[in-house]
C-alpha cells in the first residue's frame, strides 16, 4: 500500500448497527430492530481525545465494539488509512489491531485470571510481532514502568493486585503494541474513588508522552470534560452535539446536553439550585421516536421536531448540533 498521509486516524461515516429482534419458532421473522447506532459520523485525529458521553441506550459501547471489530455494522464504514476496517486484508488487519487497543471498565473481568502480568502485557504482541523472548521481557519492563507498576510484579496474577493496579496492567497491555488509538470504556468507573484520579492522570500523561488518541467513553460528563479535547454527546444511537470541550460547555446548544449538565450534581452545597429535571425516560432503541429522537423529552419542541430528523450543522467554530432549535439556547442551563 502506498504511504499516504491522512489527517485522521479513523473516520467513521454514517455508521449504523441495527440488531434484528426475531420471533417465531419455525418461521423466524424479524419483528423489530434495536437501532443501537443509527447514523454516526465521527473523526478521530492524531493526538485527539474524543469524549463520548451518553446514557443507557446511547450506543457508545456499540460504537466501541464496531471499532474493535467485535461487531460488523449494518451500514456505513470505518476508514483506517483510507480503507474500511471490515475489508482489510490479513496484514492490514494485523496493523489495524496493533494500532487500536482498548481499556475496559472492569479491571477484573478484562484480565485473564490464568495469566501472569507479564503474559497479559505481551499477549497482543505475541500475536502480531516477531520479537525475541528478551525483547519481549524488555517491552514488559518498559510498559510497566510507564504505567507506574513495580516491575517486581511481573510474575504476579491479577487476583493478587488491587483494582487500581489491575487497571494499570490493562493500560500497559494497551500500549505494548505501540498503539495509536486507545478506546477507554469507562476506565475508572469500577475503581475506588481515591484511586480514580491517579489512573486518569496516568492516562493523560501517557497521551502526551506517547502522542496517543483516545476515544473516551463515559457517563460522567465532568470526568469526560476533564480529560477530553473534544466531546460528542450521543442519544439513542446518534451524535446530537459535538464540539471542542470548552466551547461545548460554554455554549451548550442541544437541549439534551443542557439537560445532562443541569442534571449534574453540584460541587458544593451552596451551588444547589432548583432546576427542571428532564421528564420521562430514555426511549428504547427498539422504538426510536420519529423525527428528532429526543423530541418526547424536549422542553422546547416545535412541530417540525416530530416530523423531521435534524442533521448535524455547524453552530460555531468546531461545534456541531443536530437540532431544529439550534441557535436558540434555553435560558439557564449553559455554564
Amino acid at each position: 500500500m502506498e504511504k499516504k498521509e491522512f489527517d485522521y486516524l479513523l473516520q467513521i461515516r454514517d455508521l449504523k448497527m441495527h440488531f434484528p429482534v426475531k420471533a417465531g419458532i419455525i418461521l423466524d421473522h424479524v419483528i423489530g430492530w434495536v437501532k443501537a447506532l443509527d447514523g454516526v459520523d465521527l473523526t478521530i485525529k492524531h493526538r485527539q481525545v474524543v469524549g463520548l458521553v451518553g446514557e443507557s441506550g446511547s450506543g457508545k459501547t456499540t460504537l466501541a465494539k464496531v471499532l474493535l471489530l467485535l461487531e460488523k455494522p449494518t451500514n456505513g464504514e470505518v476508514l483506517f488509512k483510507g480503507k474500511d476496517i471490515h475489508s482489510l486484508d490479513v496484514s492490514e488487519l494485523k496493523a489495524y489491531r496493533r494500532t487500536i487497543q482498548a481499556v475496559f471498565q472492569d479491571p477484573f473481568a478484562s484480565l485473564s485470571p490464568r495469566l501472569r502480568v507479564k503474559e497479559i502485557i505481551t499477549e497482543p504482541l505475541e500475536v502480531s510481532s516477531t520479537l525475541s523472548k528478551e525483547e519481549l521481557e524488555n517491552k514488559v519492563g518498559e510498559a510497566m514502568h510507564m504505567v507506574g507498576l513495580d516491575t517486581g510484579l511481573r510474575r504476579v496474577y491479577p487476583h493478587e493486585l488491587s483494582g487500581g493496579q489491575r487497571q494499570r496492567v490493562a493500560i500497559a497491555r494497551a500500549i505494548s503494541t505501540e498503539s495509536k488509538i486507545i478506546i477507554l470504556d469507562e476506565p475508572t468507573s469500577a475503581l475506588d474513588v481515591s484511586v480514580r484520579l491517579q489512573i486518569i492522570h496516568l492516562l493523560m500523561d501517557l497521551q502526551k508522552t506517547l502522542e496517543l488518541s483516545y476515544l473516551l467513553i463515559g457517563h460522567d460528563l465532568a470526568m469526560v470534560a476533564y480529560m477530553s479535547t473534544d466531546i460528542a454527546v450521543m442519544y439513542l444511537g446518534k451524535i446530537v452535539e459535538f464540539g471542542e470541550t470548552k466551547e461545548l460547555l460554554k455554549n451548550t446548544t442541544h437541549p439534551y446536553t443542557q439537560a445532562l449538565i443541569a442534571a449534574s450534581l453540584p460541587d458544593h452545597p451552596r451551588d444547589k439550585r432548583e432546576r427542571t429535571v428532564l421528564s420521562g425516560e430514555i426511549a428504547s432503541p427498539l422504538n426510536v421516536p420519529p423525527g428528532c429522537r429526543f423530541h418526547p423529552r424536549c422542553p422546547g419542541k416545535k412541530s417540525i421536531c416530530r416530523e423531521q430528523e435534524p442533521s448535524l450543522v455547524p453552530v460555531g467554530d468546531n461545534h456541531w448540533v443536530a437540532c431544529h432549535l439550534d441557535g436558540q439556547k434555553a435560558a439557564s442551563s449553559s455554564i
Partner: protein, 325 residues
C-alpha cells in the same frame, strides 16, 4: 424546636472472621453517631471503609462470617442488638428500610411488581384483597410511576433501571418506616434519572418525615441532598461535620483529599489524586490508618492512633493535626 434522637449508635464494632478465625477483618471499629428524626445524613467513604457494614449491622443482616462483637444500636431508645430475630423481623421493612444499589438484585425476577410490593405489606400490615391493591397503587403514584394498574401486573425485566429503583423505593416506604437507608441507591442510574430519584427522596421526606441516611462515595450527592456528613476510613469515623463545613474547610486530610480529587463541572481545574491504595482491613498499618497516604503524616501518626478531637459544635475529626479552617 428540639430534635428527637431517632438512632444512637454507640461503640459499634463489627468484624469479619475467616475460617477458624485466623484472619480478622475489622470492618467497623468503635463507631458512634446519632441521627435525629428528619435528618439527612451522609455516610461517605470508599469501598471497604465500613459504611455498608454499619448499615448491615444496624439491620442485623450481616453475612455468616460477620459478627457485631460489641456496641449498642439504640433505635427509638431500644437496643437492636439485644432483640431476638423475631423482633428484628418486625423492625426491618417496617421501622427501618433500606434501598440497595442494584434494583435487579433487589427485585425478584419471577414475581410481578404487585406481588413484590404486596409481600412487604402482607408481612407488616393486615391489608388484603382490594385494600391491598389500593395501597400498592398509592405507593406507585407516590414514587411517580404513572399507570399503576398496568405496572402491578408487570415484571421487573419489563422496566427500565430508573423505574425498578423506584419500585424498590416504593417497597421501602410501603410501611412508613421512620428511617430509610439508601446504600449507593443511585450509583447504577443514568445521570438524568439520578436527579429525578434524588428529588423523589426529598419529596418523600417532605411528605412523610422519614429520616434519610445516604451511604455513598459521591460527593455530588452529598452536596445536593445531605445536611450532615460522617466520613469513614478503614472502619472508623475520621470526621463528622455539617455539610457546608465539610466542603468549605475539611478538617481531616482524607476528607480534604477526597474533595481535591473530586470532579465537578463548575470548575474544571487540575485535581490532585490521593496517593497510594485503600487499606487492607485485615492488615492495617500501626498508628493512624490513613498515614501511608497522608501528605501531612509524621512519626506520631505512624505510631499512635489519634483520638477524636472536637473542633466545634457538631464537628470533630480523628487526627493528630486536624486542618485548621
Amino acid at each position: 424546636m428540639e430534635k428527637k434522637t431517632l438512632l444512637q449508635v454507640v461503640g459499634l464494632t463489627t468484624y469479619f472472621f475467616s475460617f477458624a478465625r485466623t484472619r480478622i477483618v475489622k470492618a467497623v471499629d468503635n463507631v458512634s453517631f446519632e441521627v435525629n428524626a428528619g435528618d439527612r445524613l451522609a455516610l461517605i467513604g470508599e469501598s471497604g471503609c465500613g459504611k455498608s457494614t454499619v448499615a448491615a449491622s444496624l439491620l442485623r443482616v450481616l453475612p455468616p462470617s460477620g459478627e457485631t462483637v460489641s456496641g449498642k444500636i439504640l433505635f427509638e431508645g431500644e437496643d437492636l442488638l439485644q432483640k431476638s430475630n423475631k423482633e428484628m423481623t418486625q423492625i426491618r421493612g417496617r421501622k427501618i428500610a433500606m434501598i440497595l444499589q442494584d434494583p435487579m438484585m433487589s427485585l425478584d425476577p419471577v414475581f410481578t411488581i404487585g406481588e413484590q410490593i404486596g409481600e412487604t405489606l402482607k408481612q407488616h400490615t393486615s391489608l388484603r384483597g382490594d385494600s391491598l391493591i389500593q395501597r400498592i397503587k398509592e405507593l406507585l403514584l407516590a414514587v411517580q410511576i404513572p399507570e399503576p394498574e398496568r405496572r402491578i401486573k408487570q415484571w421487573p425485566h419489563e422496566m427500565s433501571g430508573g423505574m425498578r429503583q423506584r419500585i424498590v423505593g416504593s417497597i421501602a416506604i410501603s410501611c412508613e418506616p421512620k428511617l430509610l437507608i439508601c446504600d449507593e441507591a443511585t450509583t447504577n442510574l443514568d445521570v438524568t434519572i439520578q436527579l429525578q430519584y434524588l428529588n423523589l427522596l426529598k419529596d418523600l421526606q417532605r411528605n412523610t418525615g422519614v429520616t434519610l441516611v445516604f451511604i455513598t462515595h459521591n460527593l455530588g450527592i452529598v452536596a445536593e441532598l445531605c445536611e450532615y456528613v460522617i466520613v469513614m476510613y478503614a472502619g472508623k469515623i475520621v470526621e463528622r461535620a455539617p455539610v457546608v463545613d465539610v466542603f468549605d474547610s475539611p478538617a481531616h486530610p482524607y476528607t480534604k483529599a477526597l474533595l481535591d480529587a473530586a470532579f465537578g463541572l463548575q470548575v474544571l481545574r487540575k485535581r490532585r489524586p490521593i496517593p497510594g491504595e485503600p487499606p487492607n482491613l485485615a492488615n492495617l498499618p500501626p498508628g493512624c490508618s490513613f498515614n501511608p497516604r497522608c501528605v501531612y503524616a509524621d512519626d506520631r501518626c505512624r505510631k499512635e492512633e489519634p483520638p477524636e478531637v472536637t473542633l466545634a459544635a457538631a464537628r470533630s475529626a480523628q487526627c493528630w493535626y486536624p486542618i485548621k479552617a
